[in-house]
């Protein structure tokens, strides 16, 4: 049996297994699931409850393995073989695995783990991933250290490792979502900013509901959030520190309204819409200063800017052609190229973190869609359709999109959904009340 290698990096994981990295050979290569093709048959796997190495650890062992399973199952790419179907137990993490026991229930992959507690509220989780039919471990075992309060993050990191090793994609489970939490009927709706784990756990509120708030956006480091608030009586852009919940107004020119802010990849530059005299144009500002630069100058509406990952260009929405369409221009302003040419109205474009696609909201024939297109506007694909879908945001790995959906009519309510860029695995993200305008954080460090 391969000797278990401990990684002693506190609260971090070690990226292991060079043999697996960038492997594209499929014929006799390791167990691998290709998600670009649109998976028809999810990969069956087993994750028996992690072994508790200390009495105090038993509380965490089962919870952590359940969150790992929830992450993997939630992708639609993996199918867990439930514990009731297992014919073997993992009672000792260090003992050799009897692969025949897991072959018999057709588990292609097996995840084993152990949990122990240390003093001062620390949890240590070790895990290994096996390719059952090849009879070998995939990558090296890893050890993760975290706090008891942070136990879900440890679970997400384990699941991220498994996901990456099996798909070859970057992970995304250890991430958060900032969104607008909504209460009350449609004509008296109260809104406040909230933040949660990507899967809807650990919701906390960042503002109270005394002022209308719109469309929060994470900074590239995930430590700050830009949003629009009516706190002053007029829409203005604020920046909020996620840790301290301290906030300050960024743009407050008298007689103007500002909204639709977004960070540049440098985390210093902010682009946004500013309305003066009824006309809305794009501006940029350095977050440390109050000096703004005008990027567009047209009588049309220019809004919803989003940067390319390299920061050189931005995609935005404009009705200069008569209807709202998508355009790309240099980050500092200049000539814009229209990229959307389909039938309908396009809005809220968001550049993928991988740089390859632009997600958008499309309104056509009385229905709303979330779609993606290449950055030149080609290969448009609509992923969803409903009475009102809008405001896409990308998972850190550019494989999943979250958005708002509002139902029709007087009782209409809002909620968050996610969908793969293949259009598969559409599902609601649980929130305590109504929810809209999600913004997905980068992967947490």
């Amino acid at each position: 049996m391969m000797r278990y290698v401990l990684s002693l990096l506190a609260a971090l994981f070690m990226l292991a297994a060079p043999a697996l990295a960038q492997d594209t050979a499929e014929s006799d290569g390791p167990l691998r699931i290709e998600i670009t093709e649109g998976v028809i048959e999810p990969l069956p796997y087993a994750v028996p409850s992690f072994v508790a190495d200390t009495a105090a650890a038993s509380e965490w062992a089962d919870k952590i393995s359940r969150v790992v399973a929830s992450d993997l199952n939630g992708t639609g790419l993996f199918r867990e073989i439930p514990a009731e179907a297992h014919i073997a137990r993992i009672s000792n993490f260090s003992s050799p695995v009897q692969f025949s026991d897991w072959k018999a229930i057709n588990a292609q992959a097996l995840i084993t783990g152990a949990v122990r507690t240390e003093g001062s509220g620390r949890i240590v989780v070790s895990f290994r991933l096996y390719d059952v039919f090849a009879g070998q471990e995939m990558g090296q075992g890893l050890q993760l250290v975290g706090t008891e309060q942070g136990w879900r993050r440890i679970a997400h990191k384990v699941a991220d490792q498994v996901y990456s090793r099996l798909t070859g994609e970057d992970p995304y489970f250890d991430s958060r979502v900032v969104f607008v939490s909504e209460d009350g009927p449609k004509d008296a709706r109260q809104k406040r900013l909230a933040i949660m784990d990507y899967d809807g756990a650990n919701v906390t509120y960042l503002t109270d509901n005394s002022s209308l708030v719109l469309a929060p956006r994470f900074s590239p480091q995930g430590d700050q959030v830009l949003y629009t608030s009516y706190e002053s009586g007029f829409p203005r852009i604020y920046v909020l520190n996620v840790e301290t919940v301290g906030r300050r107004v960024l743009e407050s020119q008298d007689g103007t309204m500002s909204f639709a802010p977004r960070f540049a990849p440098d985390g210093q530059t902010v682009v946004y819409s500013l309305t003066r005299g009824g006309n809305t144009d794009l501006y940029s500002m350095q977050i440390g200063s109050s000096q703004s630069t005008r990027l567009t100058n047209a009588p049309s509406i220019e809004t919803a800017p989003s940067f390319s990952p390299d920061g050189s260009r931005m995609v935005f929405e404009s009705d200069r052609s008569g209807t709202p369409q998508l355009y790309i221009m240099p980050a500092g302003g200049g000539e814009a190229q229209r990229i959307s040419f389909g039938q309908g109205r396009y809005g809220t474009p968001v550049w993928s973190p991988r740089g390859d696609l632009i997600a958008f909201t499309k309104q056509s024939k009385g229905r709303f869609h979330i779609g993606v297109m290449r950055t030149d506007g080609s290969e448009e694909r609509l992923l969803t359709a409903s009475f009102l879908d809008e405001g896409p945001t990308w998972a850190p790995n550019g494989r999943v999109i979250m958005f708002s959906r509002e139902t029709q009519g007087a009782q209409g309510s809002t909620s968050l959904y996610s969908v793969d860029i293949t259009g598969r695995n559409l599902k609601q993200v649980p929130t305590p009340s109504g929810a809209s305008d999600p913004s997905w954080s980068p992967l947490q460090k």
């Binding site: 009927p185 004509d187 469309a215 009586g233 309104q363 009102l388």
Partner: protein
């Protein structure tokens, strides 16, 4: 600040009135007809904000995706301009709104166009520019909540909300 808080109070009053209106689906019942205790004065007193809201008419409606003023709208705004010039103790915040068709950001910009159309018209009719402020709520503050044109038509509006002056 007092100006703002009054404007917000008045707005909040409107929302409450809309909520408690059992006839909100009745097309003939306009929201401005809902008597509303938080607006100062009586409907009989032509110098009161309540008179402005109910007798003069505090709102104009727009076509889908449009911000140009219809003949009905300009008639209402003529009355608003006259009232504002006669009652110079008051200022106004013009709130632009959109229906729920369209994205959130676009609708904020569209509501701003509508509020601006009203502001410019009132200025051309003689109201001092420094008495008028504009704000857009986009699709965030519908008064009618069905997802049909009957409701959308009333939500595509600009409302002139009277507040005590002078503006800051």
């Amino acid at each position: 600040m007092t100006f703002l808080s009054k404007a917000i109070l008045v707005t909040a009053g409107l929302v409450l009135a809309a909520c408690s209106n059992p006839d909100r689906f009745d097309e003939s019942g306009s929201a401005s007809a809902n008597a509303n205790a938080s607006i100062a004065g009586t409907a009989q007193d032509p110098t009161s904000p309540l008179y402005f809201q109910q007798a003069v008419g505090d709102r104009v409606l727009f076509e889908v995706d449009q911000s140009n003023l219809t003949p009905t709208a300009t008639a209402t705004l003529d009355g608003q301009a006259q009232w504002l010039m006669r009652n110079s103790d008051y200022n106004a915040v013009i709130e632009g709104h959109a229906d729920e068709q369209g994205t959130r950001e676009y609708n904020v910009a569209l509501g701003a166009r509508r509020a601006n159309s009203v502001q410019e018209y009132l200025i051309t009719k003689g109201v001092a520019a420094n008495r008028l402020k504009v704000v857009s709520y986009g699709k965030e503050r519908p008064i009618e909540i069905c997802s049909e044109e009957a409701c959308y038509a009333k939500n595509r509006r600009a409302v002139t909300v009277i507040s005590a002056g002078p503006t800051s």
